[in-house]
């Protein structure tokens, strides 16, 4: 036991133990000089290492956007990969400043774990993937089918609820790791693979013959995936929330990474407010006036990030669907910056 203490003391002197004051996260982050962002162990399109071994993905872009707003430097982020089990403890214990890890916004998580959900980066829903050859047309035909599921997620409970509600027989094989779930389904251990439909699409794209698998039309749950911060620090919460809104607002106003400098000269008052040409919305948050300009300049708007990471031109090939802006028929909607 004293060995542990001694080791901790030794490590502390080497700088491996960090103590941060709880009060103002923004001040801590500024003092550290980087943002500590909790991500997955690797989910293609959302957070995964690219071929240069750099973290990329839709959720990684959110962390980069926050860093851009705070430091004018999108690379001032350090990533911690977390398992589903440890993600909330890591956030509430202060190991990370923001959690952006395909986390479903639920009431109990929002109210009982000392954490706050910022918004919805991706509106998802749980779906089922089956083999075409099995001739299944609807999720209601799945009674008695073997289902591969990842543990520690809302997926497991949703599926259980759905099967109970429809009086179907429920038969699962539970794995701790997503990789094994997919591989087990692919090798025929299960008839059904269920998870968020975005992930279903991503995984299907990796199969040798994607056309042999179909995703059933039923979406059995609402899975709003969003970034999470520790509860109790309103400033920090606002920075996270308005970073998210700025990504959407930039898309809505047609401001993109390519044209952001031209847009500085725009006559549209909304664009002027967004880019800090008119009014100062950054300073009250503890940021600079051009915070949103930096986000768009360094990371891009929501549409660009979506296209780059999960959109139809990527191997994952997700359509915007629900995640289109409200004016394009989706439900992504940012409160106005004014």
């Amino acid at each position: 036991m004293q060995k542990t203490l001694a080791t901790i003391a030794l490590a502390a002197s080497l700088g491996l133990v960090a103590t941060t004051a709880q009060a103002a996260i923004l001040d801590d982050v500024k003092a550290k000089g980087y943002l500590q962002c909790g991500v997955t162990g690797g989910v293609a399109g959302f957070s995964a290492p690219d071929s240069n071994n750099v973290w990329t993905g839709l959720e990684v872009d959110f962390c980069r956007a926050m860093a851009a707003a705070i430091f004018n430097d999108a690379d001032a982020v350090r990533y911690t990969s977390l398992t589903s089990q440890e993600r909330f403890t890591a956030l509430s214990a202060g190991e990370i400043d923001v959690l952006s890890r395909t986390t479903t916004w639920t009431m109990s998580r929002d109210t009982q774990l000392g954490i706050s959900f910022v918004g919805t980066m991706y509106y998802d829903g749980q779906g089922f993937m089956v083999r075409k050859a099995d001739g299944i047309a609807s999720a209601l035909d799945l009674s008695g089918a073997a289902i591969c599921i990842e543990s520690g997620t809302t997926t497991e409970l949703n599926a259980a609820d759905y099967f109970a509600a429809n009086g179907m027989e429920f038969n699962t094989v539970v794995f701790v790791d997503q990789d094994e779930v997919v591989k087990a389904y692919e090798d025929g251990r299960c008839d059904v693979y269920t998870t968020d439909s975005s992930a279903l699409a991503a995984e299907r794209s990796k199969f040798a013959n994607p056309a042999d698998h179909i995703i059933l039309p039923e979406i059995i749950s609402k899975e709003p995936l969003g970034p999470v911060v520790r509860a109790g620090d309103t400033t920090w919460f606002n920075i996270a929330r308005w970073t998210y809104f700025a990504l959407l607002e930039a898309e809505e106003l047609g401001v993109s990474q390519a044209n952001v400098d031209e847009m500085l000269g725009s006559d549209n008052p909304a664009v002027k407010r967004l880019l800090g040409v008119e009014g100062d919305f950054g300073t009250p948050l503890g940021l600079t006036k051009d915070w949103a300009y930096q986000i768009v300049k360094l990371v891009g708007n929501y549409a660009e990030s979506f296209e780059r990471n999960v959109g139809p031109s990527t191997p994952i090939g997700l359509e915007r669907g629900l995640n289109a802006l409200w004016k394009d028929g989706g439900i992504q909607y940012a409160a106005p910056i004014r």
Binding site: L5, T89, V174, D177
Partner: protein, 396 residues
């Protein structure tokens, strides 16, 4: 550095702090104090953290409905079962795979260990390659290999291989009919109990006779005969019958019968093969520890190689083999926790995994899980100490 004392009269001259007894007490007080302070610190932090996160603690969740599915269980399990039942299912699943794994690993390990000492070049080299390959690769990797190898090798459900007695084998596992004994069958169990009693009596008598007259009695064969004949007689006499519920192919899977899922098979394979390589080394070391003179003495008595091993070498080697063998058995039990990675619902997967996630009671779930392993370990060491004491009595 302390000065050297120069005689019995030196004791009074020792200064207060150089007295070994007092020093010992001081050390111990300091250590105990540090430990207590450390525990208090941790408990205080934990309490503060739990309060800050608004979390409740306690074991009341054990009596709540679990609401999740467990793919393999010896008990009837449904979503309406309680968390404590999930706990039991986890324990029995761990024990099941550990028990069968220990039996298989022992058989395989002894075979390989003896094969390594074989005079046959190919046999001993194959055994060496086996041991050196398996021992030096992490078990987790091997489990992945076995799981996906098993899945790949098996046919799909619709192309199941039909075995005798309505059994099937496919990607979803091995399916055998479930025996459904009727009420009269209880008498057959009584018959089995009687047979066991009779065997104990027979052995006792046979040993007495051997000591008195020197004549051997075929105890083993007659025991087997007793075990078959007595319950069989009772069966016919009572008119008991056993119905079999065969597995039936439904739309997706077989239903009914007893199912052994591929996760179980793969974990069993992985654990047995991995542990067998360690047991083989233990066995080899044990046999080599037996004095060569013993082999020569046995040879000069005209014993064949098999008898030599069975009657002379192995009984002596066992004394060297048993202690490390025990720790291998414990290792196998602990390693079964890696089954979580390939989806076998053992204790860590069910309880420290799914149950912990659903309840958020991290401390309680992990403490209970560790407690179970601690109890396994203590029980094993009690049994093994008893066995060791028994075996070492043979030494003269």
């Amino acid at each position: 550095m302390t000065t050297l004392d120069t005689g019995p009269a030196a004791a009074p001259r020792v200064s207060f702090f150089n007295d070994p007894v007092i020093r010992g007490i001081i050390y111990q007080v300091v250590v105990a104090g540090l430990l207590i302070a450390f525990i208090v610190w941790i408990v205080g932090n934990t309490a503060a953290n739990l309060a800050a996160q608004n979390k409740t603690t306690g074991f009341d969740f054990l009596w709540k409905t679990a609401g999740f599915d467990i793919s393999f269980s010896l008990f009837p399990w449904s979503r309406a079962s309680f968390y404590w039942e999930a706990f039991l299912v986890g324990i029995t699943n761990t024990l099941l795979v550990a028990f069968i794994g220990i039996v298989l690993a022992t058989m395989l390990g002894f075979t390989i260990g003896i094969a390594r000492l074989s005079s046959n070049f190919i046999v001993s080299r194959l055994a060496t390659v086996y041991v050196e390959t398996i021992r030096n690769i992490p078990l987790l990797l091997q489990l992945f290999f076995w799981y996906f190898a098993v899945l790949k090798a098996m046919p799909s459900v619709r192309e199941s291989i039909l075995l005798p007695f309505d059994s099937f084998i496919n990607q979803r596992g091995i399916f055998v009919p479930r025996p459904m004994p009727d009420e009269q069958f209880g008498f057959v169990w009584i018959g089995v109990a009687l047979a066991i009693l009779a065997i104990i009596a027979l052995r006792f008598w046979a040993k007495k006779r051997l000591e008195a007259t020197g004549r051997r009695f075929p105890v083993f064969l007659s025991s087997v005969a007793l075990l078959i004949v007595l319950p069989g007689l009772v069966w016919f006499a009572s008119g008991a019958s056993v119905a079999f519920e065969p597995p039936v192919l439904e739309r997706f899977n077989f239903k009914g019968g007893i199912q052994l899922p591929p996760e179980f098979v793969a974990l069993l394979f992985g654990l047995s093969i991995y542990t067998a390589s360690f047991i083989a080394e233990t066995v080899r070391a044990g046999i080599q520890a037996v004095n060569k003179g013993q082999t020569e003495a046995a040879q000069s008595l005209g014993l064949k190689e098999g008898d030599r091993l069975r009657l002379v070498i192995v009984p002596q080697a066992m004394r060297v083999i048993i202690p490390p063998l025990t720790s291998q058995y414990l290792n196998l039990t602990k390693n079964s926790s890696l089954g979580a990675a390939i989806g076998y619902p053992e204790l860590v997967n069910v309880f420290a995994g799914t149950a912990l996630n659903q309840t958020g009671r991290a401390i309680e779930c992990i403490a209970l899980t560790m407690l179970v392993y601690l109890i396994f370990s203590l029980l094993t060491s009690v049994i093994m100490n008893w066995y060791n004491a028994r075996v070492s009595l043979v030494e003269r």
